[in-house]
């Protein structure tokens, strides 16, 4: 069997396989490995921040290093951890959920991953010479005036990884529009596929604004342009607008896929179809749409005037309505079901109160008059961690537990899973709940030290203790991942009693996914076949040749080219030698594009005979 042979390959062969792969399942794993690595890195940075704030006027790290730490923590967690982990889940699961053999552009899929990875590496290389220190929001003129090359690394790293994300978004969109299995209409798509679709639209329309913003910042810093230079008529507020036109949809780019994950998990473990499926789909679309209209609520204190502040306040509050619809639909999915509580479900259940608190403070923050107090204080820090940890990270962990058998062929250990959950969950609330009050008690965010005798000591101490609980939880999760890989038996094809198509493929998933594309008869197609049919998907086509894409090393080389060129851009004002990197890197990247364009890539076919030889 071809699968067996792939497992016994030498290390170099396996490495080459992953460097050249265009298989969405392997790319999904790559995203999860890389995103997981950056998550640990960002977590380490968070711990250092919390240690610095364990007591008043602490001197654990210097002020400059502290600013680098907060900048890298935010940037890493958003761009290099949360988003890639979600993209990993999307890659691993979405094509299977719609009954497709791969994504629309497997080559571009691989390119997207390598661009992200090289962008992430680029950003972190900055630690060697001084990391960016202007906050993850990089407000100008602090970012334009920041000495050294830290912010340059930020600009180039995000530009490269952002390009990768944009490609991923387009790829998913085309995949979902063009490659659904027969019978898989839009309104039969699982919620996770729906959120992938909507999120891809958000990526498509939000990321270019960041691209432009980063270009302007790059031109100002490296080529003496005057976009943000007040003395030459420039205006730094433009950066804030561009950043948040991207940045606010980005929040939904993170949270919507998590919503998708929870919808799948609640339905599966309540043994009930998702309550109000149609409303859920439209709520998702509405959230995404409104998400583009509210960016300026991050700028209530900028001085936009009462008219703009009022409009953005009300628009922001409006988002609470579709979000509320979702919360109640989940509750009603649980209601009347037969609920199994395991690790995946624990993360999902914990999401409900945690995220509701985050949403509640969201409405409070939308109240512009109150926001004048909350803004840039620890209240905001608490709010977005409730949303991003309580929503996104819980979602990622729930999704990982749920789809681990599909991706890694193991069911994660329940005992370790519960230990990880409880420590992380308790730690999370310990860390962030108190921060709401720290903010209202007058502690602004991004403070290297807080002063003695200002009533902030206890709160900060509790917060730091909580952070260690969270770290412990993450370590237990890691142990669980390795433990289950080495000690647990391979999992069955459908360990949870799944409802959707990804549980209909045999385990391990063949590289072509479906020998015959399945015929979809409704929402939760596998569930329908289980309750009304023979438990197996009816094929929509006879066994025939399957067209498969070829692997390619070009995406890796192209990304490497941009990576090298990035260093050229950063150092071209210091030394002319950098031009070698700049032009050399660009030559590699453009040469790779040319090679891709000139060399036909027709893919190959798995013949019908070969498919028939493979056991069912």
């Amino acid at each position: 069997m071809s699968i067996a042979t792939t497992q016994n390959k030498s290390f170099t062969a396996a490495l080459w396989d992953y460097l050249t792969t265009v298989d969405h399942k392997k790319i999904g794993k790559l995203y999860i490995y890389a995103g997981g690595f950056f998550f640990l890195l960002g977590g380490l940075e968070a711990l250092i921040i919390r240690i610095q704030l364990i007591q008043p006027e602490n001197n654990f790290i210097s002020a400059g290093l502290y600013n680098e730490m907060i900048t890298m923590h935010g940037t890493t967690m958003i761009f290099l951890a949360a988003m890639p982990l979600l993209l990993g889940l999307m890659n691993a699961v979405m094509p299977l959920q719609i009954g497709a053999r791969d994504v629309a552009f497997p080559f571009v899929n691989s390119l997207g991953f390598w661009l992200f990875l090289f962008g992430g590496i680029m950003l972190n290389v900055s630690w060697l010479t001084g990391a960016p220190d202007a906050g993850w929001t990089a407000y100008s003129p602090l970012s334009t005036q920041s000495p050294g090359h830290g912010v340059d690394y930020y600009v180039l790293g995000l530009q490269i990884s952002g390009a990768g994300t944009l490609m991923g978004g387009i790829n998913f969109l085309v995949t979902i529009v063009n490659m659904r299995a027969p019978g898989m209409t839009y309104m039969r798509m699982p919620l996770f596929t729906w959120t992938t679709f909507v999120v891809s639209v958000l990526i498509l329309f939000a990321f270019p604004a960041l691209t432009v913003g980063l270009f302007l910042l790059m031109f100002d810093r490296m080529f003496d342009a005057a976009f943000f230079d007040v003395t030459l008529g420039g205006n730094g507020i433009i950066w804030q607008h561009l950043f948040w036109i991207f940045g606010h949809p980005e929040v939904y780019i993170l949270i919507l896929p998590a919503f998708g994950v929870f919808s799948e998990i609640f339905a599966t473990f309540s043994k009930k179809r998702l309550f109000g499926y149609t409303a859920m789909v439209f709520a998702t679309i509405l959230i995404a749409f409104l998400g583009f209209m509210v960016w300026a609520h991050h700028m209530f204190t900028v001085g936009m005037g009462p008219v703009a502040n009022s409009i953005f306040a009300v628009a922001t509050m409006a988002i609470a309505v579709p979000t509320g619809i979702k919360i109640f639909n989940w509750l009603l999915t649980l209601w009347g079901g037969s609920i199994t509580i395991n690790s995946a479900m624990l993360w999902s259940l914990a999401f409900i109160p945690s995220f509701t608190i985050g949403g509640m403070t969201g409405v409070m923050l939308a109240t512009s008059v109150a926001d004048y107090q909350y803004h840039d204080s620890y209240f905001v820090v608490a709010h977005f961690h409730y949303v991003i940890v309580g929503g996104v990270v819980f979602g990622i962990l729930a999704g990982l537990h749920y789809w681990w058998p599909l991706i890694f062929r193991r069911v994660l250990n329940e005992k370790l899973g519960k230990l990880a959950f409880w420590t992380f969950f308790i730690g999370f609330h310990l860390t962030f709940f108190i921060q709401h009050f720290l903010g209202l008690m007058g502690m602004p965010r991004r403070y290297w030290v807080f002063l003695d005798e200002q009533g902030l000591d206890t709160g900060n101490l509790i917060s730091t203790i909580g952070a260690f609980f969270m770290a412990f939880g993450v370590i237990v999760f890691l142990i669980n991942a390795f433990y289950s890989w080495f000690k647990e038996e391979p999992s069955p094809q459908d360990p949870w009693g799944g409802r959707t198509l990804e549980w209909a493929v045999k385990s391990p998933t063949p590289y072509y996914n479906f020998k015959q594309l399945p015929l979809v008869r409704g929402l939760d197609p596998l569930w329908i076949e289980k309750t009304e049919g023979n438990g197996k998907m009816t094929p929509a086509e006879p066994v025939g040749d399957i067209h498969m894409p070829n692997g390619s090393i070009i995406p890796f080389i192209m990304s490497l080219g941009f990576f090298i060129a990035g260093f050229g851009f950063i150092y071209h004002n210091d030394t002319n030698l950098a031009y070698i990197l700049l032009f050399g890197g660009m030559a590699i990247a453009l040469g790779s594009m040319l090679a891709r364009s000139l060399k036909d890539d027709l893919g190959y076919h798995i013949s019908k005979e070969e498919l028939e030889r493979e056991a069912d």
Binding site: N67, L142, V230, G236, S310, A313, L331, G336, F437, R446
Partner: protein, 350 residues
């Protein structure tokens, strides 16, 4: 099941206790005990949505808890297949309409007070202060009064004071939680914020927009005094003559060193418009040294010898000749006796 709900209860109880212990934070810094118009309105609009949202949270938690208790898979019913419900029009309408109503309840006062807090119609007849944000100190220029100060802003109680704010370098944000919400201090445009203090006192101000390494040390104070005291203070500062000889010999020597080392190029004493560095006119009356440290001679000497050790990344380090400890002590003597007014932070209420 019991375990996890139990732990949740313990957890919420714990956080409530924690909240109780820390109460509202330090007086004159916290936003939870407002003593000014802006902070008061903000607190109103903190409380209203909080109450409404806690009500929503309560409903969610009740349904959540009941669902978990009642519909947990039962022993012996492993094969039970629940009814596959598609949805419920009535319910879905209810949880769409009610939130809309709740949001309108929040939105209306939000809009009203957004406009009230941005109202500048009375600016012309009020005290106007031009505020300049600098890395990492604040400068205050009393418009039409020929008074310049830094770090401590004296204002009269019960009056609207308009702060016309602009930055000389990067973005800062002026925040005095007990008196008012914050407003950004941008390099490209002037923003106006008004403050109306209800009670005398010394209120802590903070910079709320990341502005560099010493962002967390950019504190300042708003000193609220009675109208009479304020008038007195204004008169005192206007009458201050920087040429007056200090009383002690050490201070006279310090002043000579101050001029010799060209400190005067950046630091004005008196109403001179120089504001490369903080104005030192009433330095001896400042509530804090560099915004955050105790105002003592030792600390001041420490600052003069190595400002970097107190405010990393400040613009003073390396801009003046190295001082000997003796010289620094003399300069400190000079600076600490700069007390042009009878009115000091001591007079601010408490």
């Amino acid at each position: 099941m019991k375990g996890w709900m139990g732990k949740f209860k313990v957890l919420s109880l714990l956080s409530l206790v924690a909240l109780f212990l820390s109460a509202c934070g330090m007086e004159n810094l916290t936003a939870l005990d407002p003593k000014g118009y802006g902070a008061e309105k903000s607190l109103d609009l903190i409380i209203l949505p909080t109450v409404i949202m806690l009500f929503v949270l309560l409903i969610v938690m009740v349904i959540f808890t009941i669902a978990l208790v009642r519909f947990r898979k039962k022993k012996g019913q492993e094969d039970f297949v629940p009814k596959q419900v598609e949805g419920n029009k009535t319910l879905e309408t209810v949880w769409t309409v009610i939130p809309i109503i709740l949001i309108i309840i929040i939105a209306v006062p939000t809009i009203i007070y957004t406009f009230k807090l941005a109202d500048e119609t009375e600016a012309k007849d009020s005290l106007n202060v031009t505020v300049t944000g600098n890395q990492y100190w604040w400068h205050f220029n009393y418009e039409g009064q020929e008074i310049q100060t830094s770090q401590d802003l004296y204002i009269p109680v019960g009056q609207k004071v308009y702060l016309n704010m602009k930055s000389s370098d990067v973005i800062h944000s002026l925040w005095v939680p007990t008196l008012s919400g914050k407003m950004d201090v941008n390099p490209e445009n002037e923003n106006t914020l008004y403050i109306e203090a209800y009670e005398e006192g010394v209120y802590w101000g903070k910079c709320a927009e990341l502005c560099g390494p010493s962002h967390s040390l950019m504190d300042f104070k708003i000193v609220v005094v009675s109208q009479e005291e304020f008038d007195q203070w204004v008169a005192d500062l206007q009458n201050f003559d920087p040429e007056t000889q200090p009383e002690t010999q050490t201070a006279v020597d310090g002043r000579a060193l101050f001029e010799e080392n060209n400190c005067i190029a950046c630091h004005a004493v008196g109403s001179s418009p120089v504001q490369v560095g903080p104005n030192l006119t009433n330095f001896g009356e400042r509530s804090k040294l560099a915004g955050v440290e105790e105002m003592t001679k030792d600390k001041l000497i420490e600052w003069l010898l190595d400002p970097e050790s107190i405010k990393p990344g400040n613009n003073m380090t390396g801009k003046y000749p190295e001082l000997s400890e003796e010289d620094a002590a003399l300069i400190a003597d000079y600076l600490l006796q700069l007390k042009p007014s009878e009115i000091t932070t001591e007079d601010a209420g408490n």
